[in-house]
């Protein structure tokens, strides 16, 4: 790696942490209802929404009602996205004439966007109309993110409330997250992205004249629209000549801004943020990367401010950052040292001022190795899932990093809201384990952690691995599951494990070779996403309700302080041990054995 590589990575971390601090404090004020002057002009809009919806801001909900509101609201989002896809051929704003999607794809995509996963079983520019993208997918980008933030704030209230029955009002938390946080940031980011070359238009595709006419082979279709096969069963092709390039465009910038900020990750185009119209320049890449981790990092500060002890938020942020940097180093190192095959073939793979070198298969020239590996680490640390390089073509260990970051439960930054509430669950387990070791009743932020909380935490921690491992087992045993893999050997297994890790932790990134748009995978991954999202949200809100009802106890001599480096290490240890014990056997069958094969190959 060149000196510039270290500089780019360092710059990213510094800017991220520097922006997280003020944004975190701003968000804490918003959730307290102390709206800062410069956004106070939005208050009439906020009040108008409440009035039209018949919501009263001081109508605090007990955890059961809060949960019901979350689930009901998410159900509406699911139904809307499903209906838009099924009806897009007869609805307006479809200039390129997209057909209605199949029922299984519509189910998968609707679940995917309602659960903040944004798994793409479809190719945006070849499947979805502009209306579906804007009114379906784009809206869920905002609302699924706002849902995660609301649940986090409800949990934060559980720690501050004393002997209270209620957790606040879901509708208020939801509207404020959207109106004061997600929307202003998205407006600023999308305008900057357009200036870099991200498209934003309602026109149909553009056509340009090619400089060199292009000859290519294309599968010949029969009268029934199916590819023709010859006597040996090989597809019949015909040679075509094209003098024109058809370039898909659309209202992309507005969607990409929120896709990154809301840890959504579903691309406007099939190939997501490696598409030059989604991510045209190194600057757009830097800003989109920043947007991936910005809100998840800032929410740690928000949590500390909200609960009146900033050191608690800083401690959690520190634990996340340490894991992130370690994983980043492994990913960048593996990709830069590259694939030994390329050296055997006599290629020049050395990084210099003239080329990025390393493993460039599946990577874009403008991003090179460093920015591709940084993105892969950030997008899976957060539950974003967008990609600017093809993870399927990463080296085995370079691909292990994003896979394992997802398997850790999406708690290293994680999704907006969901990452931090996941991490707080791990913190509860950490204080519980520490309590067992020193023989004291565990406490966190002045609340006793008792049997009910630990049971709920166990559910929240165990359900995603269960979904991932059982789902992988089902897929590798079923013919339909094995048929989807694109690569032979251990890598094919990695593709399946990656897909389930992604859906089972609501990330959405993919080893793109897997043919996932089949009834089998659309259904399996759809249910994996549902389990992973709501089997976390319900236990988290139950913990919040139970904590809110408790007395707050002042710290005593036997209290384990939870803002010290010791606790940071304990928290990191808990996350890593759970993640390693659960997934090492599966990883050994995929990327680890593949790595050994790679370095052993002659």
């Amino acid at each position: 790696m060149t000196g510039n590589g270290y500089l780019q990575l360092g710059l990213y971390l510094v800017v991220l942490l520097a922006c997280a601090w003020p944004l975190g404090r701003y968000m804490a004020r918003i959730y307290h209802g102390d709206i800062p002057v410069f956004v106070r002009w939005l208050r009439p809009l906020e009040r108008g929404i409440y009035r039209l919806a018949g919501v009263s801001g001081d109508d605090a909900m007990p955890w059961t009602r809060y949960t019901l509101a979350v689930l009901l609201f998410n159900l509406l989002g699911f139904l809307a996205v499903f209906a838009l896809q099924r009806l897009q051929d007869v609805l307006p704003l479809n200039p390129d004439g997209m057909a209605a999607t199949t029922a299984d794809l519509a189910f998968n995509t609707a679940v995917s966007f309602a659960t903040n996963t944004n798994w793409q079983a479809y190719g945006g520019e070849s499947t979805m109309s502009y209306l579906t993208q804007m009114l379906g997918l784009g809206v869920q980008n905002f609302l699924s993110a706002a849902t995660g933030m609301a649940v986090l704030i409800a949990l934060a209230r559980g720690f501050v409330q004393r002997e209270a029955a209620a957790l606040g009002n879901f509708w208020v938390d939801l509207v404020r997250s959207t109106l004061y946080i997600l929307l202003p940031l998205s407006i600023v980011l999308s305008v900057v992205l357009v200036s870099q070359g991200v498209v934003q238009t309602f026109n149909q595709h553009a056509s340009v004249q090619l400089v060199e006419k292009l000859e290519f082979d294309q599968p010949k279709l029969g009268d029934d629209g199916q590819p023709l096969k010859d006597a040996q069963g090989r597809p019949v092709t015909e040679t075509m000549t094209s003098a024109e390039q058809r370039i898909a465009v659309g209202p992309a910038a507005s969607q990409i801004a929120i896709k990154q900020l809301g840890s959504n990750g579903g691309g406007f185009f099939n190939i997501n943020s490696s598409h030059p119209f989604e991510n045209p320049t190194p600057l757009s890449n830097f800003l989109e990367l920043l947007a991936i981790l910005l809100i998840p990092a800032a929410l740690c500060i928000t949590f500390g401010c909200y609960d009146g002890d900033r050191r608690q938020g800083v401690a959690i942020l520190a634990a996340m950052t340490v894991i992130f940097v370690a994983m980043l180093a492994l990913c960048v190192g593996s990709e830069q040292s590259g694939n030994p095959l390329f050296e055997r073939l006599g290629l020049d793979t050395k990084a210099s001022e003239l080329q990025a070198g390393g493993n460039m298969e599946g990577k874009e020239t403008r991003f090179g190795v460093v920015n591709s590996a940084l993105w892969a680490t950030a997008t899976t640390a957060a539950s974003n899932g967008s990609v600017n390089a093809m993870h399927d073509s990463f080296t085995p260990l370079g691909g292990l990093v994003p896979m394992w970051l997802m398997q850790l439960g999406e708690v290293v930054f994680g999704g907006v809201g969901s990452g931090l509430y996941g991490m707080i669950i791990f913190a509860l387990v950490a204080v519980f384990v520490a309590g067992l070791m020193i023989g004291r009743t565990p406490e966190y932020l002045g609340k006793k952690i008792e049997a009910f909380e630990v049971k709920m935490a166990a559910v929240a921690i165990l359900v995603p691995p269960l979904v991932v491992l059982l789902g992988t087992a089902i897929a590798v045993m079923a013919d339909a599951g094995r048929a989807g893999t694109a690569n032979p050997g251990a890598h094919g297994f990695s593709e399946i494990l990656y897909a389930l890790s992604s859906a089972g932790n609501n990330n959405g990134s993919a080893f793109g070779g897997l043919s996932a748009n089949t009834p089998f995978y659309n259904t399996l991954l759809g249910f994996a996403m549902l389990f992973a999202r709501y089997w976390l949200i319900v236990p988290v809100l139950a913990i919040a309700g139970s904590l809110a009802a408790k007395k707050s106890i002042p710290p005593g001599a036997g209290t384990l302080p939870t803002h010290t480096p010791l606790f940071v290490m304990l928290l990191i240890g808990t996350v890593i041990v759970v993640g390693a014990l659960t997934f090492l056997p599966a990883l050994a069958l995929g990327p680890i054995v593949e790595h050994l094969q790679m370095i052993g190959a002659q």
Partner: protein, 193 residues
């Protein structure tokens, strides 16, 4: 349950209008007003004809043009209506076969060039639309272009240097050359197509 239904429907409807209609409309308005060129695809227009997009690569295979990154889109390379990568894993025999084929084609295009080929010139890009190659990949092709175009090699190297995009703000990304723009300027220089 019913008590929450009304706010759920109303808030869903209102926020859908705000984030799914008003917001993209506002951004489109700003984009078309302030950055119309970028918002419509950064097209290169000459004499009223669109010759390509600065951000989207095209396939080049003539010996007299610089070649770009291999593209894995189907059915033709650089299909800007259906982006895609190869998704070949590092040990996939198909990857080795593809890379060997590309090396052979490059060597056949210029048997006298014996320097090692830069890796980006024989590996498929992520999007299949990558408009750039590394500076090293452009320089590797310079002797061939000079011969085919009957230009001094120093002239070709100057052209590459003038078309090289440096790291943005001096720090971000990688130095690179836009293949379509490089070839268009090469065509303009030679006065031929």
């Amino acid at each position: 349950m019913l008590k929450e239904l009304k706010p759920a429907v109303a808030i869903f409807g209102l926020l859908t209008l705000l984030t799914g209609a008003a917001y993209p409309a506002l951004i489109t308005g700003i984009a078309q007003g302030v950055f119309p060129d970028q918002a419509n695809g950064s097209l290169i227009v000459k004499d009223g004809k669109a010759l390509g997009s600065r951000l989207i690569g095209q396939a080049f295979s003539n010996a007299g043009h610089f070649w770009g990154r291999p593209s894995a889109t189907a059915p033709m390379p650089f299909n800007a209506a259906a982006s895609g990568g190869s998704n070949q894993g590092p040990l996939n025999p198909a990857l080795e076969e593809s890379v060997k084929g590309r090396i052979a084609a490059l060597k056949a295009s210029d048997p006298s060039q014996t320097a090692a080929i830069p890796v980006d010139l024989v590996t498929a890009s992520g999007s299949g639309l990558d408009p750039h190659i590394s500076v090293a990949a452009a320089l590797w092709q310079a002797p061939r272009i000079a011969r085919e175009r009957q230009l001094p090699e120093s002239r070709v190297r100057d052209l590459i240097a003038s078309q090289t995009e440096d790291r943005q703000l001096g720090v971000l990304g990688e130095p690179r050359v836009n293949v379509l723009e490089l070839n268009l300027s090469l065509d303009a220089l030679a006065g031929i197509r």
